[in-house]
């Protein structure tokens, strides 16, 4: 045996033993997990099938949805008016003698606020009433149960757009009971 091999024989065989994981490694791992969780929360969309890049969430994509129409829905209002109200009030808003008073230019329609006229289709109207210096004593059934607030608001918007000199949109909010 040569001299250079003699040194190696004194060393022990390599063996695996159990040692504790260093604390810094645990801390770094936990930080990485935390960063990963935050990143997922911000960019992952929580596995939603509706979220695709470049959007990170549904509200993020909703920023590009078409703007809601800002004007009153006069088309719907007209359709509803003609199929319901016009039976008595007439399609031109002039009313029918003995059936329903005039809407066109009536002080009930042209008045500034919407709070008074909105109650008529909402809960109905019974008893004596003066419209454009003409006395009426009839009864109109409330439609609040049959039609949604949006529908009633659309009808009132149409009535006021057509037959009031000054018109402001009847909003759905105002029509809420």
């Amino acid at each position: 045996m040569s001299a250079e091999y003699q040194n190696t024989t004194t060393e022990s065989e390599p063996a695996s033993t159990l040692t504790a994981v260093p604390v810094w490694l645990i801390v770094v791992t936990l930080l990485l997990v935390y960063w990963g969780a935050v990143f997922f929360d911000q960019h992952g969309g929580w596995f939603s099938r509706r979220v695709y890049g470049p959007y990170v969430s549904i509200p993020d994509a909703e920023r590009f949805y078409p703007l809601p129409a800002s004007g009153p829905d006069l088309k719907r209002g007209r359709a509803l008016f003609e199929s319901n109200c016009a039976l008595c009030h007439n399609t031109d808003g002039m009313g029918k003698p003995g059936q329903a008073p005039v809407l066109a230019g009536s002080e009930w329609v042209t008045t500034e606020g919407v709070n008074r006229i909105i109650r008529i289709p909402l809960v109905g109207l019974n008893g004596p009433l003066k419209v454009k210096d003409q006395d009426w004593n009839l009864s109109m059934a409330g439609m609040g149960a049959a039609y949604s607030d949006e529908d009633l608001a659309a009808v009132l918007s149409y009535i006021r757009a057509s037959w009031a000199t000054r018109h402001r949109r009847s909003r759905r909010k105002t029509s809420k009971r």
Partner: protein, 304 residues
């Protein structure tokens, strides 16, 4: 082996995790996808491909088109464009409003500023920012609309209007997504080239239609035959070396017709909830009610 059970367990866990991520999770996410309404309309999407195009998918598959053509469009961002459509009656006020919104445009005079309508005058981050800009223009009497404009290299190349999403592939089986782009992306080829004659000529002789094309010709999808009583209406109009001998004509076989029908049906431009877009022809609803919708008291009811 000292810890064989442990090695097996770890290997099993690794494979199970990748199976869960690549197979199970997409299945849970997307397997219940059905036809839905397009964004802001009652149109159903996707409508599915017509029968001939369905056969064309098989031809596409059989000829390995997927090895060179992808069908997926990537989108890297989205912007909102304010497009001025009408200057209105007061050009000076409209020009002032435009200049106020985009100071880079404020240098020219009103006439050059308002020339060539409709004109994109401003890019904003999203629809929330577009609202005030539209109000400003409206106050000046001008008409404008906000358009959603997806951004990205693929969209700049004209390969699509928006990114493709799972909904686009609902009607196809198997989905021909593709991963290589030796040829251009085909997700919207029906939108780009709707002409069936072009597609047929291109399949027969790609280099005649696209300069420097790498695509091999698919002449076996065509037939050179003797002209019968009269020439076939779908005979190919090719010239030069490739033109058929006198008395003969080149007609597409049924496979070519089906493949072209499939290519024409490829379009992914419907606005969806997950991929919003402003379709080209649509206009933003105006706040001004059309004149026909307001009745004067004396007006006779308009005919329906």
């Amino acid at each position: 082996m000292k810890s064989g059970a442990l090695v097996f367990l770890v290997a099993f866990m690794a494979l199970a995790a990748s199976w869960g991520g690549f197979v199970l999770a997409p299945q849970v996410q997307l397997s219940r996808s059905v036809q839905t309404n397009a964004l802001g309309s009652s149109d159903l999407y996707p409508l599915g491909r017509p029968g001939l195009a369905k056969q064309g998918l098989e031809v596409y598959r059989a000829n390995g088109c997927v090895y060179c053509h992808s069908q997926q469009v990537v989108q890297e961002g989205t912007l909102c464009e304010i497009v001025l459509t009408e200057a209105g009656t007061n050009a000076a006020a409209a020009a002032a409003a435009v200049a106020k919104l985009n100071s880079a445009l404020g240098t020219g005079d009103a006439k050059s500023l308002l020339a060539g309508l409709p004109k994109m005058i401003l890019q904003v981050a999203d629809m929330n920012a577009a609202g005030p800009a539209l109000k400003t223009l409206e106050a000046a009497g001008a008409k404008a609309e906000a358009r959603v404009a997806p951004q990205g290299a693929d969209i700049a190349r004209g390969w699509g209007k928006r990114r493709t999403v799972a909904q686009d592939y609902l009607a196809d089986y198997p989905v021909q997504l593709g991963s290589r782009r030796i040829g251009p992306d085909l997700a919207n080829v029906g939108l780009r080239s709707p002409d069936a004659g072009w597609h047929l000529r291109h399949l027969y002789a790609p280099q005649n239609e696209v300069q420097g094309s790498l695509m091999p010709p698919y002449r076996f999808l065509f037939e050179t035959r003797k002209i019968g009583k009269e020439a076939a209406p779908d005979a190919l109009k090719v010239s030069g070396k490739l033109s058929p001998p006198p008395g003969y004509e080149i007609v597409p076989r049924p496979e070519a017709t089906a493949l072209v029908a499939y290519l024409q049906s490829l379009r992914a431009d419907m606005p969806l909830e997950e991929a919003p877009l402003t379709p080209p022809a649509a206009t933003v609803a105006s706040t001004n009610a059309p004149a026909s919708l307001t009745n004067a008291p004396t007006a006779t009811p308009a005919a329906k």
